[in-house]
Symmetry: C2
Subunit: 458 residues, 2 copies
C-alpha cells in the first residue's frame, strides 16, 4: 500500500490530505503537524481576540479527531526535522522522541513564519505575532492579565485587524507604521481614508516611524516600543512585521523564489533549481511562491484562499500519480485579490499597485473616484473611494482598490475583470446588477472604469 505523508495540518496540508483520501481511500495518508490544531482559520483570530466570536474551537473547521474518523492519520505535536528526498523519508520529533517515516509521495505544507527582526527585546514576553490559535490565546491571556496599552507594529492586514480587536477590548492602541499611511499594500489615496478612520476610532496612528527596539521590565516582559521618533509604553505588542515562507525542509533540493518560497509547477509539484521535478514531492500554501497573472512574475502571497486551492490541486495531482483519474485541475495563479476591514470601514484591493506596475515596466494611467456604497439618494449611502490603474496601449485594467463603509465585496467584480484580462472599455459595458439599494445605475467599479477610459483617451 502506498503512503502519502503531508507536513503541516492547516489549510493546504489538510485539503491535500483530504483530496488524496477522497480519491484513493485505500492509500495511507499521514499528516505530521507540529501544533495541536488542524484546519483552523488563522484569519478569524483577530475577531476571536475582539470577543466577537468564540474561540479557539469556533475557528476550527475540522478537528484532528474528525479527520481521523474520516481515515486520515493525523499526528499532532510532530515536528518534521528533515526530508531526505533520495531515501523518500522524513525525520520527525514528537514527545516520544525522533522517528523516521518513509513516503511514496510527500506534500510540504509548512506555511509561513512571522518575521522577527533582530532588535533588542524582540523576543521578550508580551511581544507576540498572530499567526495561529496559540498566538491568539496568548494575546487574550495578556489582556485578561490586565494589559491596558497595546502597540501594534506594522499595519498590514493583521496589524489593522488586531488594532480593531484591541480597541474592542477597551485597550489604548498605538499603531506604528514605517510608511506614510496604514496598510501600505494599498495606495496612499486609500490609506489616508484608513488613517482617518483609525484616528476617529481612537487609535493612535504613528507613521514613517521605524521600530528600534523593545524596553523590558524587571520581569523581562515588554514595557515599551522604541522608535526613531518616540517611545510608546506597552503592556502588549502585536509584532506584525510580515511573514516569510517556511521552506527550510526543501532548501537543499528545491528552487527557491521570492522570499525563499518554494517554486512549483501548476500542479504544485516541487521544482529543482534546474527546472526538473523533485521526484514525488509537492508543496502548497504559504510556503510556496505562485505567479501573478497580470505580470507573469513570481509572487509570495500567503492567503488562505490560495492555500485551499493549491492544497486541492496538490492532493488531486498526488492521487493521479498513484493511479487515480486526474481532474486536470491546475493552480492558475493570482490577481492579488484581498479584503479586510477596520471597524466599519471596509477595504479591498485586486491587481497591481502603482509601484508593482512600475517595477514591471508597464506604462499606466491611474484614476480615483468618489462614489457611494448605494444610490446617492438611498438611505444609508456612504462615500466609497476607488482607485484604479490601467495600461496604455492595451487599455487593460491593471488594478483596483476601494474603501468605504460597506460594499467592499465589489472588489470581486474587478478581480474577475483582471482575471480575464479585460479592457476598461469592456468593463464599462458589462452587465452588472443595479437597483437603488445597491448602487447607482453605473456600478461603483464601472464609475472607476469610466474615469480610467477618460484618462486613457486624454
Amino acid at each position: 500500500m502506498s503512503r502519502v505523508v503531508v507536513v503541516g495540518g492547516d489549510a493546504a496540508g489538510m485539503t491535500s490530505a483530504s483530496a488524496v483520501h477522497r480519491l484513493l481511500p485505500d492509500v495511507e495518508v499521514v499528516v505530521l503537524e507540529r501544533g495541536h490544531h488542524t484546519s483552523y482559520s488563522a484569519c478569524g483570530v483577530p475577531y476571536w481576540v475582539a470577543g466577537e466570536i468564540d474561540g479557539p474551537d469556533g475557528l476550527v473547521a475540522r478537528s484532528p479527531e474528525e479527520h481521523r474518523e474520516r481515515g486520515i492519520d493525523v499526528r499532532l505535536g510532530s515536528e518534521v526535522l528533515a526530508v531526505d528526498v533520495d531515501a523518500h523519508e522524513v525525520r520527525y520529533r514528537d514527545l516520544a522522541g525522533e522517528h523516521t517515516l518513509g513516503y511514496d509521495r510527500l506534500v510540504v505544507a509548512t506555511g509561513a513564519g512571522s518575521i522577527r527582526p533582530d532588535l533588542p527585546g524582540v523576543h521578550a514576553p508580551g511581544v507576540m505575532s498572530v499567526k495561529d490559535l496559540v498566538d491568539g490565546q496568548q494575546v487574550i491571556d495578556r489582556i485578561h492579565a490586565g494589559a491596558r496599552r497595546a502597540v501594534v507594529v506594522g499595519s498590514g492586514y493583521i496589524g489593522i485587524e488586531m488594532a480593531e480587536a484591541c480597541l474592542a477590548r477597551g485597550l489604548d492602541v498605538t499603531v506604528v507604521e514605517r510608511e506614510s499611511t496604514p496598510l501600505p499594500i494599498v495606495e496612499d489615496e486609500i490609506g489616508e481614508v484608513i488613517a482617518d478612520a483609525m484616528r476617529e476610532k481612537g487609535a493612535h496612528m504613528v507613521t514613517e516611524a521605524a521600530v528600534t527596539g523593545f524596553d523590558v521590565g524587571d520581569d523581562g516582559a515588554v514595557t515599551a516600543v522604541r522608535t526613531d521618533e518616540d517611545t510608546f509604553p506597552a503592556d502588549l505588542v502585536v509584532a506584525a512585521f510580515g511573514v516569510v515562507p517556511r521552506s527550510e525542509l526543501l532548501a537543499d533540493v528545491a528552487d527557491l523564489g521570492v522570499k525563499d518560497g518554494i517554486v512549483t509547477d501548476d500542479q504544485q509539484r516541487v521544482l529543482a533549481p534546474d527546472g526538473s521535478l523533485v521526484a514525488d514531492v509537492w508543496s502548497a500554501g504559504d510556503c510556496v511562491v505562485t505567479h501573478d497573472r497580470l505580470t507573469s512574475t513570481r509572487i509570495h502571497l500567503p492567503l488562505g484562499t490560495h492555500a485551499n486551492k493549491q492544497g486541492m490541486v496538490a492532493g488531486e495531482s498526488v492521487a493521479a500519480s498513484l493511479g487515480a483519474a486526474w481532474s486536470g485541475r491546475v493552480f492558475p495563479g493570482v490577481v492579488q485579490t484581498a479584503i479586510t476591514k477596520f471597524c466599519d470601514l471596509e477595504i479591498a484591493r485586486a491587481g497591481l499597485g502603482r509601484a508593482q506596475a512600475d517595477d514591471a515596466g508597464l506604462d499606466t494611467v491611474s484614476a480615483d473616484v468618489e462614489t457611494t456604497t448605494v444610490a446617492g439618494y438611498y438611505p444609508g449611502a456612504e462615500p466609497m473611494t476607488l482607485w484604479g490603474l490601467a495600461e496604455r496601449g492595451t487599455r487593460r485594467l491593471l488594478g483596483v482598490q476601494l474603501v468605504g463603509r460597506g460594499g467592499a465585496v465589489r472588489i470581486d467584480t474587478a478581480a474577475m475583470a483582471l482575471w480575464s484580462g479585460m479592457t476598461v472599455d469592456e468593463l464599462v459595458m458589462t452587465d452588472l446588477s443595479y437597483a437603488p439599494p445597491f448602487s447607482s445605475v453605473w456600478s461603483q467599479v464601472q464609475v472607476l472604469a469610466r474615469a480610467l477610459v477618460k484618462q486613457l483617451d486624454q
Copy 2:
C-alpha cells in the same frame, strides 16, 4: 447647422442627447418629452412611496432646467404623434397645438408601457401602474387619502418592491401571482425563500391565481380584485402585469422583435425588416430589443442600466455620423443581471433560468447550495441560498440566482463569469476576496460552482 431630435427624456434619451451635445456642442439637440420630468430614477419610486427617500425631486438626476443650461433644448409636455422617416420630420403635440419638426438625426427613446389586460374595471381609479414619477405620486396621494388595503397584482421586481413599500406605509398588503412562487423570473428554489419572507413580514401571498377583474364602488374607484380563486378588497391596486416596448412610432419602418421591441444593430441604429438601416434613425432603452450573450437570441430587457449604456452608444454613434470622432463603443448585449430586495431579503439573478436554457435547447445540469452571507462563525452570518445552471459538454456557467439577508451584490461575480463565457471549473479557481467578515474561504459563488462541477462530473 444639423439638428438631432430625441423622442423621450428619461435615461436613454437624455444620455444620448448629452453624448451628442458633449461631442458636438454646435449641433442643435432637441428633446421631446411628453411628461414633465427628465433623467429620473423610476427604480427609486418604490422607496419614495415607502417614505424612505424624498421625492419626486430626489429621484431626478438632472432636471429639464439643468439640461437646458447645458445647451439641450428640452421641450416638456410634447408628445410625438408620428415620425416620417422619408421626410425626416416628426409631428408632435403640446399645449399650443400640433407642430412639425425636421431632423437630421433621430433618436427614439420612448421606453416601455405598462400592460393593462382587457379586464373589467382595469382602468378604474385606484388601479395604478408604477412606471414613472406621476404614478408614484398617485399611489402616495391615495395612501394619504386613507387607503388601508393594497393589492399588488403581479410579483415581478416592481410588484415585490411595491409590496414592501405598502407594508412600510402600514397598509394591509395582498400580492396576487399567477405562478406558484413570487418573482417568477427566479427559480422556485429562490422564490420559496421570498414567499416565506413575504409571509413573515405580514404580506398575504396568493399564488397560482389569475385576476379576472376589478370591482368598483359608487364613485367608480376600485374596491376589490377578483381572481379565479377569491376576491380581495382593495383601496389601492398596484397593477404590475409587466411592460411592453413603446415602438408604435417606428412600427411601419422598423423590424420589430420580441414583444414588438425595435430591432437595432450594435450601434443602436434602427434596422428595417430586410436588415438594412432605417436612414438616420437610432433607438435605445426600454423600447428596443437587445441580445442575450449566452444564447445569442433577442430579448426585451427593460432595465435602466441598459438604457443608460444604449443611450451613450446611440449618442456617440449619432455624433460620429455628423463628423465627430467615434469611440468605437457598441452595445455588447446582456447576461440578464438583475437585483432587488424585499425588506431585508436581497435577491439577484444573472444568466439563464431553467426554462430559458430549455427553450434554447441547451443540455444542462443544475445545483443549489446553502451557504452563509459571511463566514459561518462570524457574527451576523445569515443563510444564503444559491441556485446555478451549467452546460454539459462545454461546462460553461449558464446562470446563477441567489437570495439571502445580505451579500446579493455577489451576483456581479457570476455576471462577470457569464459575460466571459467562463467554465465552472475556471470559476472555482478564480482569485476572489476572502476574509471572515465577508465570506468563507470559498466565496459563495465558488461554493455553487463547486457543486456544479460535482454535478457535471457525475
